[in-house]
């Protein structure tokens, strides 16, 4: 399952891992519900862990950060581990994604 627009791509082919790339600046958290529906479904089906690869996600706006927080809280509610894989040299990842760490103790963030 792949959602692809001229701005971003969300690849959920692997049921345990989503790869999000491009620029995600949707209008509101509600707009993200549709874009993240496959991620949410796979997380709900996941027995123990789920991974989101954002290494090629260049920009994410604050509505997107809220939507990532929603996924992290879903993981917390299901008591599963959620892993974010990103890049150290993308400033918003280094600054904002790391600040979500406190939402869930089983949130792992790996920036390379």
């Amino acid at each position: 399952m792949i959602i692809e627009t001229e701005d971003y791509k969300i690849d959920c082919t692997d049921k345990r891992k989503a790869v999000i790339s491009g620029v995600l600046r949707l209008q509101s958290p509600i707009s993200y519900n549709e874009a993240f529906k496959n991620i949410k479904k796979h997380m709900e089906d996941s027995p123990d862990s789920y991974t989101i690869d954002i290494s090629e996600l260049i920009f994410l706006n604050s509505a997107g950060i809220t939507s990532f927080a929603r996924l992290i809280l879903l993981a917390r509610n299901k008591d599963i581990t959620i892993n974010f894989i990103g890049k150290q040299d993308i400033p918003w990842q280094q600054k904002s994604i790391v600040s979500l760490k406190k939402l869930w103790e089983k949130l792992n963030i790996e920036l390379t």
Partner: protein, 193 residues
């Protein structure tokens, strides 16, 4: 000023610090039609342009461009979401001083939006940005809201930005307000030094 507005001036607007700065070597003003609410992508395009325009004079171009685009986009999205009339204009400007850069968005809102912004100011005055961030995250997730002002809190918390907000009643129309939101970034922080 309307009786419900407790904080007509907040943060960097209080001392008007930029007016005292010794160097002002770039100023770009954009007028963005509010109708772009239906063409949301234009927020990002304008933000990217301003960021690229400014970044070429910095050492760490890629980092500066990325941060300026993020900051400008949040300001612009905020201005558009909190405008009363979608046919009005948003004014966006970037100014560079000797050791800092400020980006300012100006838009027009109604009294309900002005009071909402005023309530937000009362929160950032009294609460630690990190505590407020988690509160707003929980609120936004619970209510599916776009108007959590998370963007402004994020800029303050993650980018060490100085925030200034000014709510000014329009003389020509008493039920409308000019809203000024300014984000000031330290050049060293911007360069990652």
């Amino acid at each position: 000023m309307h009786a419900n507005i407790k904080y007509p001036v907040y943060g960097s607007y209080i001392n008007n610090e930029d007016r005292n700065a010794s160097l002002s070597d770039i100023s770009i003003d954009f007028i963005v039609p509010m109708e772009l609410i239906t063409q949301w992508k234009r927020c990002g395009l304008v933000a990217d342009f301003i960021a690229y325009y400014q970044s070429i004079k910095h050492r760490n171009k890629k980092r500066v461009e990325s941060i300026l685009s993020t900051v400008t986009n949040e300001l612009l999205e905020n201005a558009i979401k909190f405008s009363s009339d979608k046919n009005k204009l948003v004014n966006l400007s970037l100014r560079q001083y000797s050791s800092k850069i400020s980006i300012e968005a100006i838009n027009i809102c109604d009294i309900e939006q002005a009071v909402e912004l005023d309530n937000f100011i009362s929160k950032i005055v009294s609460e630690d940005p990190e505590v407020l961030f988690y509160k707003q995250i929980e609120y936004a997730v619970k209510h599916d809201k776009a108007s959590s002002k998370l963007g402004i809190i994020t800029l303050k918390k993650d980018y060490n930005a100085q925030i200034g907000i000014k709510i000014s009643e329009k003389k020509s129309a008493s039920s409308l307000y000019d809203i000024y939101v300014k984000v000031t970034l330290d050049s060293k922080e911007l360069e990652g030094e």
